[in-house]
């Protein structure tokens, strides 16, 4: 089964003079969990609403299960949707909320009962069926909202930041539940979020968006380790990647990046193309790819500025080559501020971006 579940072709959408999406293309595979990740206002919800049919596209086409649904009503697209604000009908009971769409579709009562029973069993909301949404907690409400998509028996689920109204603990609980749901149902899910943890933990593939353009579409590990451009590199990861502006130089046959007079050897970096000397670049290194006081090929001296113990990890902020750099080490290793340390970089895990195009080198 390699058919695409959802395909977006050259999609453009503008509100009056404001263009939110421009010739966007996206293919979601059958049964895939795709996360749309981006900062606020970048057009994630807009894209999702276009796929759902809640917004008329200005240009382009949308296919669901290889059927052109560009002009179809939301109900005819075979999608279920879960919203950030839950959007439960306040005057109806949980059961009423679950069965509303089925009643509108004039399904036989027996079938309605069957589907409501199944959905409420999967989501463990049977005891709540007779309650009104106002009598539920946030987590329970969101479960009911998921149930409302579930009873529709559709191939594609659309989630618009379903967890962002919940507190941290509930969020991680429901996150696991959504993942479990996807594993058991195996249907296609498109999930919008601005939370990178959610994206990394849930996704089969992540589409990182910025002002209406998909910057990179890849599996979480590729996104994390080999970001396609500076935006993706800076957006993913907490604390974010360390960036150093510098210039590529040829020193004794070795490629190095010179940053404020300090040389960083780039032999281990898996470059995509030639690294011409004189090119202005940005070197990106994640906090966990810097080793502190461990043997390495190239040692740089640095001074500990601030220490942030976080339990399992210990985060050090150091001064190096005139810049601040964050380094993640094991929580048990403590360093007092002011202490001199020796750093070595794992350049095989680093990223180098062109300073002008901001794309990966």
């Amino acid at each position: 089964m390699t058919i695409n579940s959802v395909s977006v072709r050259d999609l453009s959408l503008s509100f009056g003079a404001v263009t939110v999406l421009e010739t966007l293309n996206l293919d979601v595979k059958d049964g895939e969990f795709l996360v749309l990740l981006g900062s606020s206002g970048c057009g994630k919800s807009t894209l999702l609403n276009c796929i759902a049919g809640l917004l008329d596209v200005s240009e382009g086409q949308i296919f669901i299960k290889d059927k052109n649904v560009t002009w179809e009503e939301p109900k005819d697209r075979g999608i279920g949707m879960v919203f950030q604000s839950y959007a439960l009908y306040p005057q109806m009971t949980v059961e009423g909320n679950l069965s509303f769409g089925l009643k509108v579709a004039k399904l036989p009562q027996a079938e309605i009962d069957k589907r409501v029973a199944r959905a409420s069993e999967i989501l463990q909301i049977q005891p709540l069926l007779k309650r009104k949404p106002s009598e539920l907690s946030g987590g329970q409400r969101q479960r009911v909202a998921i149930g409302r998509a579930l009873v529709r028996d559709v191939d594609v689920f659309l989630f618009d930041e379903p967890l962002s109204n919940l507190d941290a603990k509930l969020r991680s609980e429901l996150r696991v539940e959504i993942k479990r749901l996807h594993q058991s149902l195996k249907n296609t899910m498109i999930y919008v979020t601005h939370d990178q943890i959610e994206a990394l933990t849930l996704a089969d593939r992540i589409a990182v968006m910025k002002s209406g353009v998909i910057q990179q579409l890849a599996d979480p590990m590729t996104i994390y380790n080999m970001p396609e451009n500076l935006f993706v590199a800076g957006f993913i990861g907490s604390p974010s990647m360390n960036f150093f502006r510098g210039e590529i130089k040829d020193k004794g046959g070795r490629k190095v990046i010179e940053i404020n007079g300090v040389d960083f050897a780039m032999d281990a970096y898996p470059a995509r193309g030639p690294m011409e000397a004189g090119r202005k670049v940005v070197l990106g290194v994640r906090p966990e790819h810097v080793k502190v006081d461990e043997p390495g090929e190239e040692i740089h001296d640095a001074i500990v500025d601030i220490e942030e113990p976080m339990g399992a990890d210990n985060l050090l902020w150091l001064k190096l080559a005139g810049q601040t750099i964050s380094v993640r080490i094991a929580g048990a290793r403590r360093y007092a501020p002011g202490r001199a340390v020796k750093l070595s970089f794992d350049m095989s895990m680093a990223s180098v971006f062109d300073a002008v195009t901001e794309n990966r080198v």
């Binding site: 759902a52 939301p74 109900k75 949707m81 959007a87 009908y89 306040p90 005057q91 769409g101 409302r148």
Partner: protein, 313 residues
């Protein structure tokens, strides 16, 4: 517990406890007759009396016989309570041509107010819903035109409407007046409903669309049940507005269809015979009773609806 106290230097502990117990404790006492209270309650009582006094005069006068009214002590309570003036005002006071009291006007007003209220609210709520949720082409233009309509003085439109109704053969009929009332209520009611529906979460509407509900299903099943307060507000606005209307009633109907307000005017201002102040007072109270009752019955819902519209709108 006692042991713990003993362990922790008992003498010091006991000392603090007595000192603490002596200090202020619990609810802070507020004397009833503080200057602050006197100011607040005094002002409130004064304002209430100021507004209630005319009503008091009306009620006591309406309960007096004519001889007692002539004495001129308008504030004195009736020596001898009589309901004669009320009966007369309702059923036999003369209004120009006929002498069957306000009852005819009352029923006319009922026949005008109820259909006008229902028709105007039904149409305006659908307008507001369409404007708020179904951003159709030209919606903004339509809305602007409607709002401009709210600022055009009535008087400017009266003559053109008279001609239109005459051409339609509805001039002078109750139907004509009902249409006029419904149209005049449209701008403000549409605005009211549009703002209210816009304040409801948009995702609810989207969820209903994903669930397959169409224009009418969403309106009746989702929007209406959530909108009781605003419907009450609209109802009160319309009932009181239409019931109290004088100008449109006198312009657009024939004497046999005159609403209560017009008849009240005719009773109070009739030139023949002596001025029966007690009957006039009773007639006035009777005419004002309907809006008054509406306010009393639905006041709480009214406030809730206004607040909902104001805060979220």
């Amino acid at each position: 517990m006692a042991e713990v106290v003993t362990l922790n230097n008992p003498s010091a502990k006991a000392g603090t406890v007595t000192k603490l117990a002596a200090g202020p404790k619990g609810k802070k006492p507020r004397p009833m007759l503080s200057p602050r209270n006197i100011m607040i309650y005094g002002a409130l009582i004064f304002a209430a009396a100021y507004y209630l006094l005319p009503l008091y005069v009306m009620v006591v006068t309406s309960l007096k016989g004519m001889p007692e009214v002539r004495l001129g002590n308008i504030f004195s309570p009736p020596l001898e309570i009589t309901f004669e003036p009320w009966v007369k005002a309702w059923s036999s006071a003369c209004t120009g041509l006929n002498c069957d009291g306000l009852s005819r006007g009352f029923w006319n007003s009922v026949r005008i107010t109820i259909p006008s209220t229902i028709v105007s609210i039904a149409i305006a709520s659908i307008n507001g819903y369409a404007l708020a949720n179904w951003r159709f082409k030209g919606a903004d233009l339509f809305f602007t035109i409607l709002i401009v309509g709210a600022f055009i003085p009535y008087q400017v439109m009266i003559y053109p409407i008279v001609i239109v109704l005459r051409e339609m053969g509805l001039y002078g009929s109750l139907t004509g007046l009902i249409i006029v009332h419904s149209i005049f209520g449209m701008p403000i009611l549409t605005l009211l409903f549009r703002n209210y529906f816009s304040s409801l979460p948009e995702e609810l509407f989207k969820a209903a669309r994903v669930d397959g509900a169409g224009f009418w299903t969403i309106y009746f099943k989702i929007m209406l049940p959530m909108s009781l307060p605003i419907f009450v507000v609209a109802m009160i606005l319309q009932i009181t507005g239409i019931w109290n209307d004088f100008l449109l009633g006198v312009v657009f109907t024939r004497p046999e269809y005159y609403p209560m307000t017009v008849q009240l005017n005719n009773i109070v201002n009739s030139v023949q015979g002596v001025k029966e102040y007690n009957v006039n007072m009773a007639a006035t109270i009777l005419t004002g009773a309907v809006p008054l009752i509406v306010y009393f019955v639905s006041g709480r819902l009214f406030v809730r609806g206004i607040a909902a519209g104001a805060v979220k709108g």
